[in-house]
């Protein structure tokens, strides 16, 4: 809640600051995030030599998605991984962002591919920065968990203490497993434990990779509403496809006084649909807010740059200190949000698995 309040405050500040403060790119050197201020728009038609930089734009580009993975700038040249744009419109078109124009596509004001002639969004399955980060982190998770499982396959866990990766992953996995048992109940928690483990570890991994300021981290995956929406929908379908008779009875025919009978199902159905929405927004907003706060701290340096070296120097110290503080806070939030999402999911599943005593 506090974080969501902060995000709105910061967004206001950024829009004010972004309008008022424009800086020379030559003076930008970022002590916390090497690649942060030098970022310019990835859209190829925008000139990279622009002297004016908009702080709000910088932040939004960092937390958004793009068609190439810009890593840093080296001696004035952008080091970026070109990624394939895959567009489905009268067949499949594959090209890189630089060759969009040759294939009859251009970018809209949000930096998304549109058809150059009709101006419509095609079905865009491009491997964007976020998709690449998604692939990387998910397959990293796959590898790590399978490697951990391999340890348990090869060793007799009844005789040996886990070592290496298994020792590291076991507490995390068992924490979620125990949480599933507490919230879902001894009867059928085993069925849902893998999903909760997957959700927890996936969110945790991506939260931490998102905080990591350099490649292959730095993509704002869990602060992207599409990602959190998919996760919340997974929980929603898990809950409602596994609902027991009593769960549906409580929704559609709850045991309440007569005058409430017509109202309660409406409220219950609405609440069933609000649960995934709240899951989506909570994770999305918290992670997005964290990213924006850290980026804003970094950008303070450039906002105050025009007030002279003394002001810039002192504000640099302040912003670095706050940046470190916020990074530490984000590490905490990364864990808490993964935990909260998983715990709420397990509670929702537990509520759907009610049995008559």
């Amino acid at each position: 809640m506090i974080l969501t309040l902060l995000i709105s405050l910061l967004l206001m500040q950024i829009s004010v600051g972004g309008a008022g403060n424009t800086l020379s790119s030559a003076s930008l050197r970022d002590p916390v995030r090497a690649n942060a201020p030098e970022r310019v728009s990835p859209a190829p038609e925008e000139p990279t030599s622009s002297d004016e930089i908009n702080i709000g734009e910088i932040i939004f580009e960092h937390i958004g998605d793009e068609y190439e993975w810009h890593i840093t700038e080296w001696k004035g040249k952008a080091i970026a991984i070109p990624l394939p744009c895959i567009v489905m419109e009268d067949g499949v078109h594959v090209f890189t962002a630089h060759h969009a124009a040759q294939n009859g596509y251009t970018f809209n004001e949000n930096g998304k591919l549109i058809n150059a002639t009709t101006g419509k969004r095609p079905i865009d399955l491009s491997i964007t920065k976020n998709v690449l980060a998604l692939m990387f982190s998910t397959f990293l998770l796959l590898f790590i968990v399978l490697w951990t499982a391999r340890w348990y396959r090869k060793h007799d866990a009844l005789e040996e203490a886990p070592s290496g990766l298994a020792a590291c992953m076991e507490p995390l996995i068992m924490m979620v497993h125990e949480m599933a048992r507490e919230n879902i109940g001894e009867r059928d928690y085993r069925k849902f434990s893998p999903y909760l483990c997957m959700a927890f570890l996936w969110i945790l991994f991506n939260n931490f990779l998102g905080i990591m300021p350099f490649f292959p981290g730095g993509a704002n995956l869990t602060g992207n509403i599409a990602i959190t929406l998919v996760l919340a929908l997974c929980t929603f379908f898990t809950v409602n496809l596994n609902g027991t008779k009593h769960y549906y009875k409580e929704i559609f025919a709850p045991d309440v006084p007569g005058f409430l009978k017509p109202i309660m199902p409406v409220i219950e159905v609405f609440s069933a649909f609000m649960k995934p929405v709240s899951l989506t927004i909570r994770l999305f907003a918290n992670m997005l807010a964290g990213h924006i706060m850290i980026l804003s701290m970094v950008c303070i340096i450039f906002i105050v740059a025009k007030y002279g070296p003394l002001m810039t120097g002192s504000m640099t110290v302040v912003s670095v200190l706050f940046g470190v503080f916020l990074d530490a806070l984000e590490c905490l939030v990364a864990f808490i949000q993964a935990y909260v999402f998983t715990m709420l999911s397990s509670i929702y599943i537990g509520l759907a698995r009610v049995h008559e005593e």
């Binding site: 348990y152 483990c197 992207n224 599409a226």
Partner: protein, 168 residues
């Protein structure tokens, strides 16, 4: 706003990749780990319970053992006392028996010695008698060699016999 509109491409890839990896991990990843750890937890819980049980049994054994030890000690001292008594009695009995035996042996020996003495005396007497007869014979023969003396001897013998008859 761009930030709050989910992008279809990302949605699609998220569903595909997350679904695929979830399928793989739900089949080959998490259940193996959690099952194994659950098994281990069960084993640890069982071991603890067993240990508690064993401890309780050990405590019971300990008291039992102490009781047995106490009992044994009592028995031992009783036996020792009994043994001492028995020993004393046996020694006393043995002493008595030995004394009786010794007395008997002594008296037997005395009797035997007396008998032996008697026998020896008898033998000596017999020997002496024989010797004296032989001596007498030799003397007689020697004496009888002379005529006069035969007569004198005859007289003397008769006299003596008369004396002996009278005395007896």
């Amino acid at each position: 706003m761009n930030l709050v509109t989910p992008d279809f491409g990302l949605l699609f890839w998220m569903v595909v990749i997350f679904g695929l990896v979830f399928f793989l991990l739900a089949k080959f990843g998490f259940p193996i780990i959690t099952d194994m750890v659950d098994k281990r937890n069960a084993k640890i819980a069982q071991s603890l319970k067993d240990a508690d049980e064993i401890e309780a049994r050990m405590a019971a054994w300990k008291t039992e053992h102490a009781q047995m030890l106490e009992e044994t000690r009592r028995q031992q001292s009783a036996m020792l006392r009994e043994a001492t008594e028995t020993k004393a009695r046996i020694v006393a009995d043995a002493k008595e028996a030995a004394k009786a035996e010794a007395d008997k042996i002594l008296s037997d020996a005395k009797l035997q010695i007396a008998a032996e003495k008697e026998a020896a005396l008898r033998d000596v007497r017999k020997e002496v008698a024989l010797l004296s007869v032989q001596v007498a014979e030799k003397v007689l023969r020697h004496e009888m060699a002379k005529d006069g003396s035969q007569r004198a001897l005859m007289d003397q013998l008769v006299e003596e016999a008369q004396d002996a008859n009278i005395r007896s």
